[in-house]
Amino acid sequence: MQQGKAKYYRRQASLSLSHTGIVLQNGRVHEACGTAADAFAVVMAAKLSGPLVWIGRGAQVRTLAPTALQAFFDPRRLVTAGCENRKEILWAAEQALRCGGVAGVIAEMGMGPDLKESRRLQLAAEAGRSLGLIVIGRAAQSSAAQTRWQCEALPRTDTCGQSWRWSLQKNKSGRTGTWHVGWRAHRKGKAEDGPSGDVHMVAASAA
């Protein structure tokens, strides 16, 4: 049943990945660029509990494959919204962030939001206390986002695992840095609702 007062899922102020020192503040908008930016978003979504929305151009959203998402979170938590243009994506992201019903909003765009657009998103995220993640396909602009991550996939010695290089290029409150991380899925028997895996450090490297 819908409640008049919006529901808030995230009580804690921030999303921190255990042992790695990576912290994403809640109620803020974060940006991710690079070829593995969507994987970054998926990992962050896995650490959130609550409904998720994936917004992007219709053709782009349709390439998402839920079979792989299962390694990170339950695809039942996800709703996708296919938009026609950038304006619609921004509007949908703002609405989804503001409505307070979701824990995380992932918006895929070509060019990153500019100062004005990101400020609007930022205000919406604060109002709805949700985490916003902008996955930027082409290039980021100067924006009001809390953090900006450059995410690349790292070649590995085995084909099964995943590892990435996440470099924090901009951080409004805190240090920047670079992390080499991997994803380890939990074995069966873990709680159904909890995250289905954990991030671990592959190698630490200073910025």
Binding site: Q2, G4, A39, T80, C83, A103, T159
Partner: protein
Amino acid sequence: MARRVMSIWLPRLPLDRRVRRQDPRVDGVFAITREIKNAKRLTHISDAGIKAGLVAGMSAADARALCPELLTEPADPVREEALLRALRRWADRLSPWGALDGLDGLAIDISGCAHLYGGEKAMRTEAMGQLADMQIRSQMAIADTQGAAWALARYGHDDMIAGAGQTAKSVHSLPVEALRIEPAIAISLRRVGLDHIGSLSRMKSADLAKRYGLAFSQRLAKVLGHIPDPVAPMAADPVFAARMNLPDPIGLQGDVQAVLDRLSTSVCTRLEKACMGARGYALTVRCVDTGDHVLRVGFARPTRDQIVLIRQFEKPLSDLRMKFGADWFRLIAESVEPLVPVQRHISGKDDVEDGLDIVISALGNRLGFDRVRRFVPRDSHIPEREFADVDAVSAPMVEAWPKPERPRPLRLFRPERLRTLEAGRPPKKFAWRGANYETRMSDGPERLSPEWWQPRAEPVRDYWRVQTGEGPRLWLMSHPASTPPEWFVAGRFP
């Protein structure tokens, strides 16, 4: 004023319903059947059937033996009740105080209404004429009490209108069945020689109560008017709508919001009282210059939450151009469904559903509900058919996703042809989307044969998981049958 009740009996309502639908069978030997005591029995019989010797209550098998050309159809209680309800609404023209009376009758309190038609006789003639125009056969009687009118309508012979105070006299000669009592009691009354209502008047009420039960003596008293038996009118179907007329047009957004605030309070309170919610709301705004504009919002599930409703109307209202203002507003709840409070699940699973519903409604109202989608699993081994995306509004909640047997890519592309730079299986070096890649490691092939039951023949596919030296983990695909081998990128792993 003395109470006057009109009883309308519709003896062949199920048949008349079919006559009205121009069913040709009713002209022949035709009957409506219903399962009674483990047998299909005739309940309503057409005129030709009665002439052929069929009687109500006969089993269908016996009737068919008697009359081989008999056609039957099972009763449709839902549609018959709908027709009866429609006739109840028609009866509002006689008097506003009408009620359904059993499955085949109406009881209408016409106290103080008959003079509008020029007397009870004229009123009865007029009503019977109107029903006859609707091809519905009826019998009507008017009396002081509901029970007497009922008895006269069904068992009366010539004078169907019992004058005021003439109740006892008018029902005197009617059989005891006219009291609307159980058949067993009627039989036992007849056994002792009490075969008409008049014969009961000699008995003491206490004796009758002792022998046949208190309900029986009360029933008799009701028919004779010794104890009151008022017609209980049906409540009108609730309408979840509210409207507002304004003396002067308004156009400021704040004013319109205030109007919507009041209208939604009224509608939502009524919905809450009725334990209902609506999936859609329509707000009609009558602009003084451009006429009516209907603004609609939809919801992912029945809703009666005022705040959510107002929030959804914000956008269409701000888009509406009201140059000279509007002076008439109406809010109506559409597709009203039951919405009962439910026990919340302690694990918080419902919260996820709630949150999703909020966001589905928020996005769907602007983008269109067909563009807000959700994934559901499908049973197939072909990667692009392992799942489907469906409208999030109408998506059924799946129990759980089956565990994937093999790793699958995060992004699944329609196969994109790559340019082979250095041949190999898979290619040692290739170019894709404007970048060059070098295969460092590969895992494959995973051979997937097409679904043979699909009408369009598809070639067999081989898939390789490839770790490129540049970082991205790609899913390469080729058709083993093709020479020289053509390579495609089918997906990208996280």
